[in-house]
């Protein structure tokens, strides 16, 4: 056990830090609006940065060189990510593709056509989105009703996807559809990759409660997908789903965004009964509780890293990180808003402290407890897959999909 960098790691960190300082894009030139996720100017900078990293061997560091990676170690990749976060230049556009979907594509496919998608994604030239969830299939991720019917060398897909992050700007998506409704639900699914410009595929943004439109509905109307774009085996889609979801939870469980440092800065600016809130014993007690939890999230990500560096897949225990991160983020945003008292209600960037970052987080936090698997599903996974408790009695497991009861 050692949480310090080894001499080689320290050397690598120093090199990386120097390189980032010399090459990181300057975000200062952007207006407050342009600094927001999904703004075209913000996205353009993210793409340039990704390409610069790829040229210097810092994109997908742990992937083989043949796929545009650097052939490095998982530890090196983690060190680079930490330094990126530290410098404030980590972007989320490529995460769905690079952390979730493409590793699954590489795991399940060996054909050149599919693998040709990987280098442009590594360079940030092509952005990916996840087309799994449907109106009646969220937590119940095998409850997919979109249908893919074989037609010669093609599949014809009809149905609807929903909650797809970034689909409005994505170039490619990974999609799961039902290919046999007479088989039990997990056994009749097949995965595909699809060009988002394919005729019949329509993306409609969804406005979320914070007022932004980063999620989407995706309608599939006779979308033709060549069989060469199938991922994994026919009716083997569930395996693909599982590999992506485990990657997602491991990625989400490592935590990003406002930190305890930001809360401390806020508290230092906020008057309390005596002095500032940073001296208020009630705040300090909360902060200590909060810190041990979020610090655990950071440290637990090293465990994930340790298993990755041994070539092991992230286990179900990473669900604990996802559960903690989303709940502690909501708690932190709530606490930071409350700390300011009546004034904390203001969320305009001109009036609110830290330009309203905490209020924005407060309005986004409910989504964190749902996306990537809900709290309740994370707890089920911990109880059943880590602790070995018996699963719920299932009414949907060994019956043909079309016979499963459903409501809305």
């Amino acid at each position: 056990m050692n949480f310090d960098d080894s001499p080689e790691e320290a050397r690598y960190r120093a090199t990386v830090r120097t390189w980032i300082a010399a090459n990181a894009p300057d975000m200062g030139g952007l207006s407050a609006d342009e600094q927001r996720n999904w703004h075209p100017a913000h996205k353009a900078i993210a793409r340039q940065w990704q390409a610069a990293k790829a040229d210097a061997g810092y994109a997908c560091i742990s992937w083989p060189k043949a796929w545009g990676g650097a052939g490095g170690t998982a530890i090196e990749e983690a060190i680079f990510n930490q330094e990126e976060v530290r410098a404030g230049v980590q972007f989320t556009y490529f995460m769905t593709g690079l952390h979730m979907l493409l590793p699954a594509l590489m795991e399940h496919n060996e054909d050149d056509l599919s693998l040709a998608r990987i280098p442009p994604a590594v360079r940030g030239e092509e952005i990916w989105c996840q087309l799994f969830s449907e109106p009646a299939s969220g937590s119940d991720s095998a409850g997919i009703r979109s249908q893919a019917v074989r037609d010669g060398d093609n599949w014809v897909v009809n149905g609807q996807k929903v909650w797809n992050s970034g689909a409005q700007i994505a170039d490619y998506g990974m999609l799961v559809a039902r290919t046999d409704a007479d088989l039990p639900k997990h056994k009749g699914l097949t995965a595909f990759w699809v060009d988002m410009k394919t005729p019949g595929l329509q993306v409609r943004p969804i406005k979320v409660m914070s007022g932004e439109a980063e999620l989407n509905e995706v309608f599939l109307d006779n979308v033709h997908i060549p069989d060469t774009q199938r991922v994994g085996a026919v009716n083997g889609g569930w395996k693909v789903v599982i590999s992506t979801l485990m990657n997602e939870r491991a990625a989400l469980g490592s935590g990003t965004g406002l930190s305890w440092r930001d809360v401390m800065r806020l508290a230092a600016q906020t008057p309390a009964w005596e002095g500032s809130a940073i001296d208020d014993p009630a705040f300090r007690e909360w902060l200590a509780d909060y810190y041990v939890n979020v610090e655990a999230i950071r440290l637990l990500s090293f465990r994930t890293l340790t298993s990755l560096s041994r070539g092991e897949a992230p286990g179900p225990a990473s669900s604990a990180g996802k559960l903690l991160w989303s709940n502690k983020t909501q708690e932190m945003a709530s606490e930071a808003v409350d700390l300011q008292g009546h004034f904390g209600l203001l969320d305009g960037s001109d009036d609110a402290l830290l330009h309203g970052a905490f209020q924005h987080r407060f309005l986004w936090a409910p989504g964190l407890r749902l996306g990537g698997g809900t709290d309740e599903i994370m707890k089920n996974i911990i109880a059943e897959r880590v602790l070995g408790l018996p699963a719920d009695i299932r009414v949907d497991k060994d019956v043909p999909f079309r016979e499963i009861p459903h409501g809305r």
Binding site: A272, L346, D351, L370, P405
Partner: protein, 379 residues
């Protein structure tokens, strides 16, 4: 001992629920959300005025209806349930209570009749910045009959015609009455977590004002007014929390996952049971507060702070777990869940945060214990 509304109070509450479900469906709050510059639903406000609700606790001599405080609590619960986008809390729980408890006879006679009819909107302007307000931190000044300084944020500050303002003169903090439509007043509407309840900053640059009643310690007066408002707000919070729980229950009955209603999963059942228990804790404390308010009981400071702490926690918990129960749908702008999440935070902070009220509660408890010991009451 009687832990319930009387039959007449129940009839008033039922009538209020029918009125508000017709006149203030959630689409009314949503309309203000979509167009926050309006600040409130003026047509609804007019109708509420016609119902006489604004004067429910105002004595007849001042043009009110004098139904009583428990009746006002029952109305508050229904207004909270409906998320009514109107300045009721500012005008009735804060402004009218300021006048009733601190104002001179002349001030009461001049303004309360119009407040009671809803013709006039009043508010209470105290906050000046983030964090805790102490006497030394008040920068707004009262000099030669005029006010100078900025109050931010002021609930309904963009639409109110009169305000009671916390300011200080050479003797310390005091409360002052000001006409917001007169000279020396400029206002700016502000964006807030709950756009269905208007918020503004108000700058006074020599606005004519007069002391509210006899000059006294303004912070102590503010604390007394807020004790009263806390109980009324607690009823709005309970109304909102109950409705959020009903929404979650209804959705849990109709949504299926894994071939079952999601309400059949124990995780969801226990979650909603937890919401129910928190709502019960809030209700118990708020009812005690309603009694203390109506009877001016000595326990008022303890009851008010306890009601505020419990009701703020209940509405926060109910509103966030309602979103959680709804899954992705609950996170959308289109679903009504976020209206409750926003309103819960608004009500929880509008007269100071639960953190401050916990401090007030424990201080009031210390006083109560000391008084009991002095009287030789063993508990």
């Amino acid at each position: 001992m009687n832990f319930d509304y009387s039959d007449e109070q129940k009839a008033l509450k039922d009538q209020a629920r029918r009125f508000l479900s017709a006149e203030s469906p959630l689409s009314a709050a949503r309309a203000v959300l979509e167009n926050p510059a309006t600040g409130y639903d003026s047509a609804l406000w007019k109708k509420i005025g016609e119902q006489g609700w604004c004067g429910a606790a105002i004595p007849e001599v001042y043009g009110g209806h004098e139904f009583g405080y428990v009746e006002l609590c029952a109305l508050a619960e229904e207004l909270g349930r409906a998320l009514a986008p109107v300045p009721f809390a500012s005008s009735v729980y804060q402004f009218a209570e300021s006048l009733l408890h601190c104002g001179s006879e002349a001030q009461k006679h001049a303004l309360l009749p119009q407040i009671a009819s809803g013709a006039l909107i009043g508010t209470l302007a105290f906050t000046e910045g983030p964090g805790v307000l102490t006497a030394e931190r008040i920068e707004t000044k009262y000099e030669n009959g005029t006010l100078h300084g900025t109050k931010i944020p002021v609930s309904d500050g963009g639409i109110a015609q009169r305000a009671v303002v916390l300011a200080r003169d050479d003797n310390g903090p005091g409360l002052y009455l000001v006409d917001l439509e007169g000279g020396g007043v400029s206002r700016r509407t502000l964006s807030s977590i709950d756009p269905t309840r208007g918020t503004a900053s108000i700058t006074f640059d020599g606005a004519p004002a007069e002391p509210l009643g006899k000059a006294q310690d303004g912070l102590a007066q503010l604390a007394r007014i807020h004790d009263r408002a806390a109980i009324l707000l607690a009823f709005e919070q309970i109304g909102g929390a109950d409705r959020a729980l009903e929404m979650a229950r209804d959705y849990a009955l109709e949504r299926y996952a894994f071939g079952r209603q999601i309400g059949s999963f124990q995780a969801i059942k226990h979650k909603l049971a937890d919401v129910f228990v928190k709502n019960e804790v809030a209700r118990a404390n708020a009812y005690y507060g309603a009694w203390a308010l109506g009877s001016n009981a000595a326990q008022l400071p303890v009851a008010a702070a306890a009601a505020r702490v419990a009701a703020s926690q209940a509405f926060w918990f109910a509103s966030k777990e309602n979103i959680q129960t709804h899954g992705g749908i609950g996170f959308t702008w289109e679903a009504d869940c976020h209206l409750f999440y926003r309103r819960a935070r608004h009500l929880g902070l509008v007269i100071g945060s639960p953190r401050d009220w916990k401090r007030r509660l424990t201080t009031a408890l210390q006083r109560q214990l000391a008084a009991e010991q002095a009287q030789g009451i063993a508990a």
